[in-house]
């Protein structure tokens, strides 16, 4: 693929309940900041716009259409939407730019999950004939996965607690994080189980918020005169929605996407991984082939705050901003969608 420049990225705070704000009111501030950071006025100044959201989260039909209101879409703009995390909206924008149909794009994701019972709402992602009618919620499917791993001896409960303790500690330097602080592995293991074998802290919190990113061809970014990170590779793969047909202890889709995106083509200084449950970070770290020299989730990851439909794009944005600030030269980001890591996207980012 051709190099794509990530010019700006902005994420809102992760909050448990955004109160009276609707999706438009959540999006507007991050769009404004992302556009300002790229030095452009509005969506009129980019060739393509793509958003990621899911109307089921807030229970408002066609909320994704309202999500166009903050763009200033008069005169008409080229606009698209994915009913997925905005990491896949970025993927669509990358295709658009790669095909030569756009030189720049605005990508954003938003989710107000607080109005509904999120794990139950997410049961509607399951196959509608055999599994969704069982009301299998997203925490239960993750618990099935964790149980399999523990019984296999792939991980221990201590390994899971270590992931959580590191997330809380790293999140202390993330102003947008919802859950942060110093907590010991022993303290975490002393907590009762929630949905066995998961404890509450093994599960990401429910958060409201949004994020936005401006991308462009490298030539366009140079024309704008802004610093940028380079997206060197991006790919995504999906596995069966039939849990019985999957080995839940592995993530072959992540492995395939990582290979195709070129994760192993250089050192990985930082990896931002979308693991909504602690044990999943371990599965993903293995699938991505990461060693101990890679810093995983320096932002705290989504265990510190999970903006449904925005967290995946945020993972990419987190790495991009570290490169733009000059903290690192090369990093990778991962996004997931569906139950028990069904679908996975991997992106490789490098300095310009």
């Amino acid at each position: 693929m051709r190099d794509i420049a990530i010019v700006s990225f902005v994420q809102s705070d992760c909050v448990r309940d955004a109160g009276a704000q609707n999706e438009v009111e959540l999006i507007m501030p991050v769009l404004r900041k992302a556009l300002d950071a790229a030095g452009i006025q509005s969506a009129q100044d980019v060739d393509f716009t793509c958003s990621g959201s899911c109307d089921y989260l807030q229970g408002a039909a066609f909320a994704f259409v309202s999500g166009v209101d903050p763009l200033g879409a008069v005169p008409p703009i080229k606009e698209s939407h994915v009913e997925m995390d905005a990491a896949w909206a970025l993927y669509e924008a990358v295709l658009k730019i790669t095909m030569g149909q756009a030189e720049s794009a605005l990508v954003y994701g938003f989710g107000k999950s607080s109005p509904g019972e999120l794990p139950i709402v997410l049961s509607q992602q399951l196959d509608p004939y055999y599994m969704a009618p069982l009301w299998l919620d997203s925490i239960s499917t993750a618990a099935l996965q964790a149980r399999t791993m523990l019984d296999n001896g792939d991980i221990t409960e201590k390994d899971m607690a270590e992931v959580v303790a590191r997330s809380r500690k790293n999140a202390k330097s993330n102003p947008h994080a919802q859950l942060k602080g110093d907590v010991s592995v022993d303290e975490l293991l002393a907590e009762p189980t929630y949905l066995s074998p998961l404890r509450k802290h093994d599960c990401c919190p429910v958060s409201d918020g949004a994020c936005a990113m401006v991308v462009a061809t490298v030539e366009k970014a140079k024309e704008w005169g802004k610093p940028y990170a380079v997206l060197k590779g991006i790919d995504h793969r999906i596995e069966s929605h039939n849990f019985g047909a999957r080995d839940l202890t592995q993530s072959p889709s992540t492995q395939a996407a990582a290979k195709s995106a070129g994760v192993a083509n250089g050192p990985v200084e930082v990896a931002e991984i979308y693991a909504p449950f602690s044990h999943q970070e371990i599965i993903l770290k293995r699938a991505l082939g990461l060693g101990d020299d890679t810093v995983v989730n320096p932002s705290g990851g989504v265990l510190a705050g999970n903006l449904m439909m925005a967290s995946g794009l945020s993972r990419i944005g987190e790495v991009a901003m570290r490169i733009i600030r000059g903290d690192i030269k090369r990093g990778i980001a991962h996004a997931t969608s569906g139950h028990a890591l069904q679908q996975n996207l991997v992106a490789v980012l490098e300095e310009a």
Binding site: A20, N22, V24, E25, G72, A73, S114, P115, A132
Partner: protein
Amino acid sequence: MSDQNTEALEPITGIEVPVYLDYNFTAGRATARFLTGVKNGKLLGQRCPSCRNVYIPPRGCCAACGVATEEEVELSNKATVESFTIVHIPIPGNPIKPPYVIANLVPDGANISFLHVLSECKNEDVRIGMRVEALWKDASEWDYAMENIQYFRPIDEPDMEVEEIGRLKDA
């Protein structure tokens, strides 16, 4: 599959899989202010700081300019018919007996129309540009709903020119 087995199976034409999801829905800050106004017998629009258009109901954002709308504008009870339709089909649960008129109404001081019922006139007399006013229910019945206005009815004012509808004089 053998012919015998095919005959033995009843065709499955559907399964029942009801979905119930509970939400604590929030309208949004701007719409909540609008609904609070309606509960107090007022129609509150919001003006775009960029293009000066006035939105009702406001959503907190000018969809044309993509900027936040903050300035609140109290709108008149008078409005102009921008378009209308005569409903002949009974809708289950709707207490209004067909045929009746549903109109796109632009309240004075706003650019955007909303839907409401027109009454106290002959259906065949309704026309684009017709001047109407809101008939509010008794204040004791007011809630966070547009139903606080029972319907709009014609007033004795000359029709508005079609090209003037939704144009703001002070914009």
